[in-house]
Structures are given as C-alpha cells and as structure tokens.
C-alpha cells in the first residue's frame, strides 16, 4: 500500500477519531495533520507494520496523550496567544456544549478518554485497544471501568 492509498482510504476515519478525542474540529485537524506528516515522512516504517492503520492510530493516540502535556515552561512562557478556543458559534458546537456528558468526558485523563472512544465509538475489542494504547488488556479494562465510574458519579448526579 502506498501513502496516498492509505490517506485516501483512512483519513476520514482518523479525523473522526481525532474529533472524538479532542471534541474540537480544529484541534482534531492539528492532531491528524501532525500525525500524518510523520506518517508520510516515515511511510516505509509504517507500511512494514502488520496493520498500518492500527500503527497510525497508535501514533495519533500517543500524540494526543502527550500533547501539550507540557511543563510550566511550555505553558506559561512560550505561547504567544491564549489557548482558549474561541466562543462556539455554530449549531453543532453549541449542541455539544449543551451536552452535560460531553463536559464531564473532557475532564477525564486523556488515556481514559482515548480508551472510552476506542471502545464505545470505534467498537474495538479490548485486545486491540490495548495494542493502540500500548498497555495490557487488564489495564485497558481497569482504565475504562475507572472512567465509567467517574462519569457515573458526576453525570448521574447532574441528571
């Protein structure tokens, strides 16, 4: 498979996955762009893996989990402009904003959130989730059950 074929076939799915992770179309685009540039520059290595898509998804997930987890220096000093996403204007965005569950979801640790997306959006089996997150199957399960417990406690209270 060439890089072009891969991008033609999988870019849409990766973008959707990134939207689920970040909850924001612009951040999702940045995330996918950064990952795909690296995919393109290192295509031979990616193509050598058994399942290129899973490899790329793993790259993207790592990128997301590590993203701007930055230290004090990066956050405080080295940004020109504020980090806030501008106030939502379009309907889809405000619909999401009304979504209580969504706001709780965005407060979860990123790995937990990635695990939830992989199971409840991508419907992947735990073994595959484990491979993408780079951890053991048991860790995936405990990760998800912790995330669900948090959501249940917070979300149910509100409802």
């Amino acid at each position: 498979m060439t890089y072009e074929e891969f991008a033609d076939a999988r870019l849409g799915a990766l973008l959707r996955y990134a939207v689920m992770l970040t909850g924001d179309p612009h951040q999702a685009q940045d995330l996918v762009q950064e990952t795909m540039v690296r995919v393109q520059l290192n295509w031979r290595r990616v193509a050598r893996s058994d399942v290129p898509e899973r490899y790329v998804r793993r790259m993207l997930t790592n990128q997301y989990v590590d993203w701007r987890r930055g230290s004090w220096a990066r956050r405080v000093l080295l940004r020109g402009e504020p980090d806030e996403v501008p106030a939502p204007t379009d309907h889809a965005q405000s619909a999401v904003d009304r979504d209580e569950l969504w706001s709780w979801l965005s407060r979860l640790p990123r790995r937990q959130r990635a695990a939830l997306v992989l199971r409840y959006y991508e419907d992947l089996p735990d073994a595959e989730i484990a491979e993408i997150l780079g951890c053991a199957v048991g860790t995936v399960r405990s990760c998800i059950s912790r995330a669900l417990a948090t959501l249940r406690a917070e979300y149910m209270e509100v409802c």
């Binding site: 973008l15 959707r16 939207v19 909850g23 179309p25 230290s71 080295l78 999401v96 959501l151």
Partner: protein, 350 residues
Amino acid sequence: MIENDLRAAFARLEALTPPTGPVRAAIERAAVRRRRRRFRLRVGGTALVLVAAATAGFTAFVPHQPAPATLLDEPAPPTPTGALNVLLLGVDSMSTQRPPLADSVLLVHLPADRSRPYLVSLPRDLEVAIPGLHRDKLNAAFAYGAGYDPPDQSKGYDLTRRAVVDLTGVPVDAGAVLTYPVLRKVTDALGGVEVCLPQPIRSSHTRRAYPAGCQRLDGAASVDLLRQRRGLPDGGLDRDRNAQRFAAGLVRRARAQDVLRDPVQLSRIVAAVGPDLTVAGRSVLDLLRVVPELTSVEPVGLSLPVELTGGSNGRLRADPKAAPAFLAALREDRLAEWAAAHPDRVTPIR
C-alpha cells in the same frame, strides 16, 4: 445506561468532523516544509562531519598519527592552543508542539597542558540569568531560544551558550546539540557502550532495569538510561553523573575500536548521525587536531557545586562556599588541582 449515553454523545460529535480535502492539502504542505528542513540539516550536518562523536568521541583520537585534517593540502590553520571548552547540550524531543529543553548541559574542558578531558556538568535545574530575559532554570534557556514552531536548535544553543558563559566566565570554543536519536545512532554504530553504575537503576519509562556494575548497552538502552532521573537519590544530578559515565564509556569504546582512524567505520557513524546533529563554533576538524595531544583520554567527571534555593520547582543555585573556587579553577585552568583537593566531588566513572 452510561454506555449508551456515551455512544450517543460520540454519534452527535461526528457532525463536527472536518472535511478531508483541506486537511489532506495541509498535510502535504507541512510535509514538504519538513522535508526541506531535514534536507537543510543534512547538508549542514555532513559538512560538519564531525565525528559526531564530538560527543565525547573527539577525545578518542589516539595520540599517534596526524589527524586527518592535516592531510589536506591546503595550509592547515594552527592547532588551537590554550585551554578549550566545548559545550554539549542534550535536548529532549524536537517536536513542533513544544519547545525542547536542554536537560543535560555538559562543558568539556580540555586543559592547556592537554593532560586529559574534564567533563563539567551544569545541573539543568540551576537558576541562571537568561540573557535578555529573566532568571529561570538553565534547561529553559534552550527552549526560550529555540521556540517550537518549529524549534531552531542553533538559536536554542546560542542562548544556552550565552547563559553558560555568563555563569562560568569561560569562553565556549565550540559546541554541539545532541538529541536522543543522535545518541542512539552513535551508540549502535559503535556496537554498544559500556556503562558502569554504582547502584542499580530501574527505568521509569520502560521495563528495563540496570544492575549495579559495568554493562554493555545498545543505543535504545543507553538513551533510556540517560533519561532516568526519578527514583535516583540525587535526581537530575545523578542523571548528569550517568551522562558522564556514558560519555566515558563512549570514548573507551571508540578508542578500543580505533574508530577515528578507520575511515570506513568513521563514515558509517557520520552517515548515521550527520543529518541530525547541530554543531557550532570552531570546526570539528580543527578540534580534532587537539586530540592527539591529549596524554590520556580517560575523562574526569565534575559538577558545579550546587544547593537547593528552597524556592519552588526544585531550583538550584551555585553553592556559595564551594562554587566560586570551582569556577575560578575552571577559568584559570586549574581543574586538576581542584579535583585532587576535592576527591569527594569527582564522579566515580568506573
């Protein structure tokens, strides 16, 4: 059921997915930019050739034959005389998401009598005046200089160099920026490096464990070891000592394999690291000419004496009692004397 609510929330979110066309185009543009940058670095890197092992490797030239530079027909510039200081910066990842920090700052001091190299670690948590800015940790100087969009290694190097010159008062004659991939490739090209640890270390990044004593590490293991700071008794300071141990092992290995006099091996290493290494100051060949003059290549590991400031973030400051004498010894090229008087401050290397 929360699971169903989750599925529904995700399904609603799908509407936000951006169209693929513009994203695809943006990826292409970014990839082209990055390829050009890589190419530029490669061209620069090969020119500097560098026995990348400038790392420490340049001390591995066996006092024996004339260095390759002298074989050139053109009139050779005079071999540098007097004490030389080479600044090596180990930086963490070069990503466009965040500026890199120089977590290892190592000043290699070659005394005027060319007795042996001295490795002087400057702790990354040391509070220094960043030229043109405020006081901050030493490792942040690289970040302020380099920025992150994309990071510019030479600017990061330059700001760190100025901070180090202000701090130590010694001129820096040359320097290099080392990233983890460079170290990994050099190590692998040498077939592994022997590192001798005084205490066992368990990696907090991988599942590796390093027993006390000497062991041969490949590139990936070396890089992992050089990252370890948590769980060590002295944290970052112990990591600096491990970097010195690694540098000593690298030199021994390069010397044992006679790498620097073997053009085939040398070109293999240069090919491996050339594109990723940034070098500044005096040319590497120029520096290499010093190496045959060294009596011994076994380095002495030292650190700037420091103490906690008691402030936030574990910042350190130069120890008001011990540091002035140390820095004076460095400036006046009397480190041998100083090390003899303070054996407890010399890093046990093997």
